[in-house]
Each structure stands twice: as C-alpha cells, then as structure tokens.
Amino acid sequence: MSHEVEILLVEDSPEDSELTIRALRRYKIANEIQVAEDGAEALDFLFSRGSFKDRTPSQTPKLVLLDLKLPKVSGIDVLRAIRADERTRPIPVVILTSSKEERDLIDGYKLGVNAYAQKPVDFEQFSETVRQIGLFWMLINQPPPPGAFTASKG
C-alpha cells in the first residue's frame, strides 16, 4: 500500500520535475510526490480514471503544482476541470510556469487559481520559490475538513 499523495506535480519536463522534487525534498516539505507528464494524466489521477482507476478518489492531494504548457490537455483546461468538480474544487492549485503572459495570468485567476508563480532561471531563486510555495500550502494553509465537499453537494 502506497502513502497518500501529498503533491501532484503536473510537469512535462523531466528536468524541471527533478529540480522541483529536489527542492521540495531538500527542505523536507513533501515526500509523496506524484508527477503527471501531461494534462490528461493529471486528470486521470485526480478523477481515478485510466491507469489510476484503482486509486481512492477521496484521497485528494494537498497541493497541485501546475505547469501551463502541457501536451494533450493544457494546464488551463486541467485547472478548469479541477474547479468544475465538487470533489476537486477545494484542492489548492498553484501555477508554476515559465510564462508571465498576461493572458495566462488572467485566465488562471478567472478560473480560481490559488497562486501564480514564474519559474526563476536561477536555481537558488527557483528553490526558494518552490520552498515558499510548499511551506505555505503544505504546512501553513488549513485545508477544509475531510469529506466536507464530497458529502454534501454545494
């Protein structure tokens, strides 16, 4: 039996995944990190479909780190799907991307993203960014009580 997934990292670049995971582990923020390499895989995981059909859907990750430029289903569409479903709506989603396009920022916030951060080129700054995001959402932020959204509709 696997541990409960703490962070879903939606990232198509294995290098970025590795650096992000390295930063998260370095500061001991999370150990159980699930990587989805495209938007479709992320949605399969969240809604226990496809290769994740055996997963318990009520065990939602504490945080989704979402890249925007993804194969198959874009990050914005993943966000839209997360916010459209009662079960996944409360999951904190932080967009972590190379893009600082106004369009992306506007779309992200319109769909109710919790935070938006640009990946810094400098690794020290990158690590610091990941650390602060992880620290806040994993340790400081209080999630809603378990089952609050799955039990009753609305």
Partner: protein, 488 residues
Amino acid sequence: MNIRRQLATQATMTRSSKAIAASALIILICIGALSYWGEVRNENDREWVTHTLFVVEQLQEIRIDITLAESGQRGYLLAGEEKYLKPYQAGLDRVGQDMEKLQNLTLDNPRQQEAVLRLAPLVAARLEELSAGIEIRKQSGLQPGVEAVAHENTGGKWMGQIGAQIEEMRHTEAELLTARLETAAASTRKMKVLIACGNTLAILILLAKGFVIHRETLRRNLAEENLKQSNERLERRTSELSETNIELESFAYSVAHDLRAPLRHIAGYSSVLAQDYGPRLDEEGLRCLTTIVDSARRMGRLVDDLLALSQIGRKKLTFQETALGSLVAQVVEDLVPECAGREVEWQIGELFSVECDPGLMKQVFMNLLSNAVKYTRRQAHALIQVGQSMQNGERVIFIRDNGVGFEMQYADKLFGVFQRLHKARDFEGTGVGLATVQRIIRKHGGRVWAEAALDRGASFFFTLTPEMKVPEQAEPVIHEEEMHVARS
C-alpha cells in the same frame, strides 16, 4: 506620375476653363442686348409701315367725304328737299376733320406736308362750288340751280385735280411703304444672322469648355486614382509592417521564452552539481562550475529583460491619472536594499500628475533610478535628483545623478537593445533597461534623451503624452507646481 505637377497642371486648366466660360457668357449677353435693340428697331420699322397705311387710308377717307358731299348736293339740286342736305353737311363736317388728321399724320414728312398744302385749296374750292350750287337752288329753284352747276362745269375739273393730288400723295406713301418694308425686312435679316452666328459661337465655346472640363475630369480622376492607389499601397505597407512587427515581437518572445527552460536546467543542474559533488571537485573544477552558474544566471537575466521588453511592445496601455511623485517614492523605497552601506542623497522635487500607464511608468522610474544608484556607486556621496521643468512649452521630467556619466559621443547608442557604454566588469547589466525606458516613453507619445559628461554625472529627460503640453504662460512651471500642490 508626379502628383504635384499634376495638381499644377490642373490649376492652369481650371484657370483657362474659367476664361472660356466667361467669354461664352459675355457673348451670350451681347447677343441678348443686340436682340433687344434689334427688336426695338424692328418694332419702330413696323410702326412706320402702319403709319404709311394710315396716311393712305386717310387720303381715301377725304375722297369719300367729298364724294358724299357731292352726292348730297346733287340730290338737293334735283329734288330740292332738305333731307338731301344731311349727307352734304356730314361730308362737309368730316372732310374738315379728315384734312386736319392728314395734316397731323404727315407732320414727319415735309414733302407730304407740301402736298397737303396743295390739296387743301383744291378741296376748299370744290366745297365752295358745291355750296354755291345749293344757294342758287334755294334762291332760284330747280332749273337755274341745275343749269348753273352744269353751266359752270367746273366740278369735274376740281375733282380731277383733287384725285390727282391724292393719287400723288398715295404714290409717295406707297414708295415710302416699300422702302420701309424693305428696311424692316433687312433689319430682321440682320438680326437673324446675328443671332444665328452668336448662338453658334456660344455653342462652340461651350462645347470647347465641355471638352476642357471633360479632359480636366479625366486628369483629376487619374490623379485621384493615383492618390488612392498610393494611399492603398501605404496602408498595405503599414499593415504589413505592423504585422511583421507583431510577428517579430512574438518571435522574440517565444525564443526568449523557450530559451528559459534549458537555461533553467543548466543553472539548476550546475547548482545541484556544486551542492552535491562540490566536495569532490578541486579548486579549478569549482571555478569552472561557478562560472557556468554565473553565466547561466546572467543569461537568465538577459532573457527575462528581453521578454519584458517584447511584452511592452505588445502591451496595450491602460491610461489613468497617476501622481508621478508617489510612483517615484515607491521606486526609491524599492531601491533601499541596493543603497545599503552607501551614502545616497535623494532630492525629489514636485512632480505633476499625468495620464499614463502606471505600471509601465513605474518601470521607467525603476530603470532610470536603479541606473542612477548603480552608476553613482563610486561616489562617496551619491546625489540623485528627480524633478520637472518647462522646455519650449513642454513639461519635461528629469533624473540627474553625480555618477560616472558617459561620453556624449556615444549618447545615440544609449537606448539601443544590448548597447552598453560600460564594461560588465565595472558595472553589471544587460543593456535592455534604457531600451525598455525608450519603448515605454514612445508608447506614451513622448521622447527620452540624455546629457552627460564622463565622470561628471548623467541627466535623463523625458516627455510624455501630448497632454503634458501646456500653453505658454508667464510662469508656467510655478503655475504647474501650484496646480500639483492643489491636487495632491
């Protein structure tokens, strides 16, 4: 074809066309006047013809009058009845009136007047004779009366003379009539010829004008067509250019954006290498690794600056009334960490509020003021001034420092992308900051320029939108500052 030359030709054409129109008008007016004058003369001629006919009729009347008197007298002579005297008396009365009328009608003609003078005694003599016959009949009865008249036998003589005289006058009038009819016909003919010729001329002139107008219209249409075509070409070129510009911007953006990921990986893995395997590397190995990390970091800044610059190019400005003073205050606050351990004096003057994009304007001040902080680094006492002034009726913002400055001969390179006037070893930077400033200022419809001398500080000036322009006043700066104080 040269449009200006076309227009000049057109102007000449218009002038000649006006001259043609004027001459046609003058000719038509002349024809009108001549027609009127000819008509008046014709009427005069016709009146004279009528006059002649009147005279002839009057002569006829006189003859009838005398005949009437004669037949009345003869009736009386034969019958001796008073009733026959009535026509006699009527003829007598009328002949007097008719002679007078004739006299008046021929006043214009001396020859006929003389003829009237000759006719009058003949008529009088005949009337006298008639009267005498009546007297004899009254006094002496039928026989002596008839005899006396027949005996005298002068009636025929008088009447012959009267007839001859009247005939002569009639003949004269007939001659006059012929002459006058001819005159009238001749002047009518002349008028006809005049009107025909004049109208033909006017029509010809108008046709010529029509032709000239037609040619002018053709030319103008041609010129307009040319103008339209060159406008269209210009519009096409402009839209092509702006498309190309947008394409270039997007290209620059995507290149910079796509460069970021591998760059981040180089930087990231170098750092990981340094952290995890640092202890196993010797000094030279560590130095190389540090250089890789530094280079990647510098390139990252470069790419980020480039991205920001291309984003400004594509960004739509959101204008709002902005107090530049508070923008500057925020930027100075943000620069506090960079001034740590240094003596930096800020002199911020009164700054007005303007319509601008506050985010971009803050970027302008950030770039200019961080430059000022950077290039005054070697001064024991750095002085940075921000203020405004009036130059040729235009409001100008300036940022002045007492730093290293630059040589004015390179001033034109200052605002170019990646252009740097200092060695990276002396002053770090990407060479994008001032290019960004210029792009933002230009997007606001303003200008930016700099004045400096090596080691004697630099001054940067910029203007903004045309709204910043104020009308020339006696003390515009003071006035503006008062306005500013009143607003803030």
